[in-house]
Symmetry: C2
Subunit: 244 residues, 2 copies
């Protein structure tokens, strides 16, 4: 068996996420399973670095699958892209050693959340969250520093009954402002369910003046979802890269 | 009466162009007419710099309209944007002198045609024309020089029974290649029906080796649509700017 790693970009607008519990075929994953079955004549499992939620986009999702094949990585890339609809694309395909696993071996993931003040550029409208309020950017920048480090991020997780650890490490959180767009770029060793969208919503609340930047450490420490900001909509979120 | 100039961007994907002969409401123009009527209580005419075809995009279409109003240009901008769907947006609104006319006073228009070799980036898929052939970029660049100047461009016009002059002046034609994308950026004093898409199709034929760069002057001089390349699809085309 050969183990192939693929890097994928997708417009998540019309999908129920990478993979959904239950029976829907309307997932990013589903078409890959179909294509791999067509290509190999067998049922193939595919493992992603993580499930992106319904409506979330990716420019650098990573997945791997093991197959018996004489095809080159380049041929596989071309084959999959031929059958993928135009809102999904494989950017690269490489053969890895047999132990490589896209989720278990990931050491760093980077997401971007895009906020646009006012009516967004029409060509970007599906990929930004637009708001009408003015934001205090320097307060948001101040607040962002408090997220960096290793903490229990339970306050930033939609699912409150986690059996597994809710401790994660955020390596960096950069906020940039250009024209009317504010981008939140966050890297960490992993993220809880909705964590990036809740952190972004909390930073937005700071920008609106509803929260003080200095309130962040307290919000983290209380481990209570209700104390953090809202979960921002999925369309502003994009999985940028996964590192190994 | 005050005369307002607006600069507009739109995703033309789902529209039958700026304005259609006949009765369809599915045009870029139609919603503007509705909004201006709602805003002023009267029927208002709006004049665009030119009609973009069905499926063609714009980042800098210009239009003007004359209304009696106490509203500021900024208020008008905000009002129109509130009622426009998210695939259309007004970028600016300014009051001009009463003689300003967006079509009659235009001195330079710039279009871009985007060709992508291979499966296009998913976030750009609606705005590029994708092909699978390899292209000879330097031949295309060589060919592009022959279009610059004042010529009768009848060979590059879909409508062959033009009563008006088919002479136009092309000020510049730049071709750039970056990664897998080739962009054709063309400026002139005006363009015939489908002219940019036919010039792009002719350059594409050169890139594929079906035409020699040196054939261009002959194609121009014969004034015969059949000698030029195909009319490329509308989705790769965007009206970038209009100058006065």
């Amino acid at each position: 068996m050969k183990n192939f790693k693929i890097i994928i970009e997708y417009d998540g607008s019309r999908y129920n996420g990478w993979q959904k519990q239950g029976n829907t075929k309307n997932t990013i994953e589903y078409k890959f399973l179909e294509i791999l079955k067509k290509m190999t004549g067998k049922k193939v499992e595919i493992f992603a670095s993580g499930r992106t939620d319904s409506g979330v986009h990716a420019k650098g999702q990573v997945a791997n699958f093991k197959i018996d094949t004489e095809m080159s990585a380049e041929d596989i890339l071309s084959y999959i892209n031929t059958y993928l609809p135009e809102d999904r694309r494989v950017l690269s395909c490489t053969e890895e050693n047999e132990r490589f696993h896209s989720r278990l071996n990931a050491i760093k993931k980077t997401y971007m959340y895009r906020i646009y003040k006012g009516k967004p550029p029409v060509f970007e409208r599906k990929y930004v969250y637009s708001i009408n309020e003015r934001l205090d950017f320097s307060a948001m920048k101040e607040a962002s520093k408090h997220f960096i480090g290793k903490y229990d991020f339970k306050s930033f997780c939609t699912k409150q009954k986690m059996k597994k650890s809710t401790v994660r490490e955020i390596y960096s959180l950069d906020i940039t402002e250009k024209n009317n767009e504010i981008d939140i770029i966050i890297s960490g060793n992993g993220f809880l369910y909705n964590m990036v969208r809740i952190i972004s919503g909390t930073l937005l609340a700071v920008g609106k003046g509803e929260l003080s930047p200095s309130a962040i450490p307290e919000i983290i420490s209380v481990q209570n979802r209700e104390k953090a900001g809202e979960t921002l909509p999925p369309n502003g979120l994009c999985l940028m890269s996964v590192e190994y």
